[in-house]
Symmetry: none
Subunit: 216 residues, 4 copies
Amino acid sequence: MEKRRLTSRGQERKRQLMAFAARRFAENGYHPTSVAEIVSGLGVGKGVFYWYFSSKEELFLEILRDAQHDLRRRQDDAIGEEPDPVRRIELGLRASMAWFAEHRDLVNLFQFAAAEERFAPALRRGQEVAVADATRHVKEAIAEGRIRDGDADATRHVKEAIAEGRIRDGDPELLTHALLGVSTYLAARFIHERGENPDEVAEAAVAFCLHGLLGR
Amino acid sequence: MEKRRLTSRGQERKRQLMAFAARRFAENGYHPTSVAEIVSGLGVGKGVFYWYFSSKEELFLEILRDAQHDLRRRQDDAIGEEPDPVRRIELGLRASMAWFAEHRDLVNLFQFAAAEERFAPALRRGQEVAVADATRHVKEAIAEGRIRDGDADATRHVKEAIAEGRIRDGDPELLTHALLGVSTYLAARFIHERGENPDEVAEAAVAFCLHGLLGR
Amino acid sequence: MEKRRLTSRGQERKRQLMAFAARRFAENGYHPTSVAEIVSGLGVGKGVFYWYFSSKEELFLEILRDAQHDLRRRQDDAIGEEPDPVRRIELGLRASMAWFAEHRDLVNLFQFAAAEERFAPALRRGQEVAVADATRHVKEAIAEGRIRDGDADATRHVKEAIAEGRIRDGDPELLTHALLGVSTYLAARFIHERGENPDEVAEAAVAFCLHGLLGR
Amino acid sequence: MEKRRLTSRGQERKRQLMAFAARRFAENGYHPTSVAEIVSGLGVGKGVFYWYFSSKEELFLEILRDAQHDLRRRQDDAIGEEPDPVRRIELGLRASMAWFAEHRDLVNLFQFAAAEERFAPALRRGQEVAVADATRHVKEAIAEGRIRDGDADATRHVKEAIAEGRIRDGDPELLTHALLGVSTYLAARFIHERGENPDEVAEAAVAFCLHGLLGR
DNA sequence: GATGAATGAGTCTTCATTCAT
DNA sequence: CATGAATGAAGACTCATTCAT
């Protein structure tokens, strides 16, 4: 689809379509939500839809792109010029959870995209930048000796594993994904499902991510 | 659907259908996989499907139930009679990740179910028991003073939060879900997507969950 | 289907199948009622059905035949040796309505058969004998001068029609069918639908059939 | 189904679908006639059907409604401002039979609807108005002493019944239904099945309804 | 006689997409 | 830009019937 030059009214229409579709996709699922439902929800004809999007799939992809872009901006804004890498990680985590709290629908869409072969690559592509950014902070923290190298305080079991080289403790990318797992999971379970206070949950997530179960 | 009395041949057929469907659902998605595809994949007539399942949805639910049951059994077996609650948590975590490693399809199905309003409740219901079990171990560990109560080693920010009561550090159920988030996420990203060694990833997950980013 | 020689147990089974099917056909319709529903309602396997009937259609036809035969027997019994043809008509009418009252399901089946091209011929064939019998009584009554020849008491309009030969007043077969129409219709509306007293309705039907709206 | 705003072309399509379907339903039965058959009979795609009707059932119901409405209009037109209630009844009867003669298909549909639990309520609801109208004329005629009160000219049997209060002779609504029974039945048997002259049959029906078998 | 299993054509319905106006 | 109309392949599901055991 050649990029259309849209009037401001056109841009508004497109925004409406994406917002409405995102909600329906999240509530009802991507497949079960029909184009007919989307356009009739906005009280417009089918032609409108295909004026702005070449297909339902493209609509989804565009929602995904926008959401990922928005999340990244939120993280960047939160981190600002903070010099301490650990603090940067913490700020990023909090910013992410705040965004998750506000965009339940989009989080659900991420989850759907991850589960569907057809959309998973796009999701991953979009996350790569964000993950790379976060990984940079983790690496820096490791370099500064702020993050454990897997040596101290380990259980016997873990120590053996490190000794035998079976462990990848300290792998920056893996740590980044662990952060992602904790934050998305806790947001979904506690903020979205149970409606708990986002700040509280964020605090708990930060604490867990920094000190784990055992703390020191 | 009234429970059918199945001959052993019938049970075998049912198993076949569930296994094949699980694979297709995971590879291709639930909605994009048609009943026609499932039966023709097994080389049987369409009626066979509806002899064993009252609907495609019911088939999915049954796969889900079975999978959750199997995972729980694996966890229980791994934990055995271990007296140390922290060790029990670790064993459960490892068992889960091993199961995740072996059942990529089913993990994907869990993810899909979580994203789809229609299946999420069933997924949650099935997880409740497992979560309750794990939470028991966490509680015991807290009682024994093995798990931090959020007091020591916290960043200034976190300490303030605790002081102001804005934080729920130490909430056993939340910690359980954090474990779940880390394990499912790392399994999906590193074991399934990148084909890394499940044991290594499990070790890293354990280390992260016990000590967090900062270790001590 | 070659006539099977049935054991007494077999005859009982067949009766059960026919009775159950008749009820379901009447309540739910012929097409919407499946063979599976019939056999499972009796707690038997599908083989049983096809042991006694070569097809669902044949089952329906057999129910129809039996019902018509039973109705005719009831009429014959009621009329007995009564010499007065008008009285015979009246007795037949009452007997029919009593039977209708008792066999709501079968009346409904007659109605369905009449509406369905596929079964209408069988229905008509079965009714022919009964209609012929009734018509005989009507003819006799006309011959005896007991039934009007369309001359007297007619409205001006009707008189003209008779004069111009446009009217078939006194056509015995038509009169018979008029009786049928009144009795089946009143039974359905008042006895079955509204649960009114069959005797009362029968009396009213007789009165209407003998004297019409205007009486004398 | 939300009411669609139809263009004149759309209205024409809908009319076509209803007319064609009515014919096939009548000839072949409601259940045996598939949506596929209907649309292919008009040479259009399957989607067209569901653009105009939300289901096959709704199509049937709409045909039914239209037919009942048309019949009622015909009756009303025929009766006009006629002051004599008996004459009004006669005119209504004739109008009905003329309509029946012209709309064999729709009469068959009425019959089918009456036999099928699923459609019977809709049929009844539609008939209520017509029956109420006719009943009004009958009541008026009784009030004017034009219709017998069940006293005179009865057989001994009937007289006893009246005396004992077992009879409802003169019940206006019952009489109305008797008229309906006669007219629909004679139309189906003589006009549709045997192709006889509608006027002749109507005359006979009128004669029977006014004077019954015995005349005066 | 009877059962569970299987068949597969056929049913109603949906839906992404296209197009004339 | 926008609409109502149309397409037709595809989907979930049904069901009369058959058959091996």
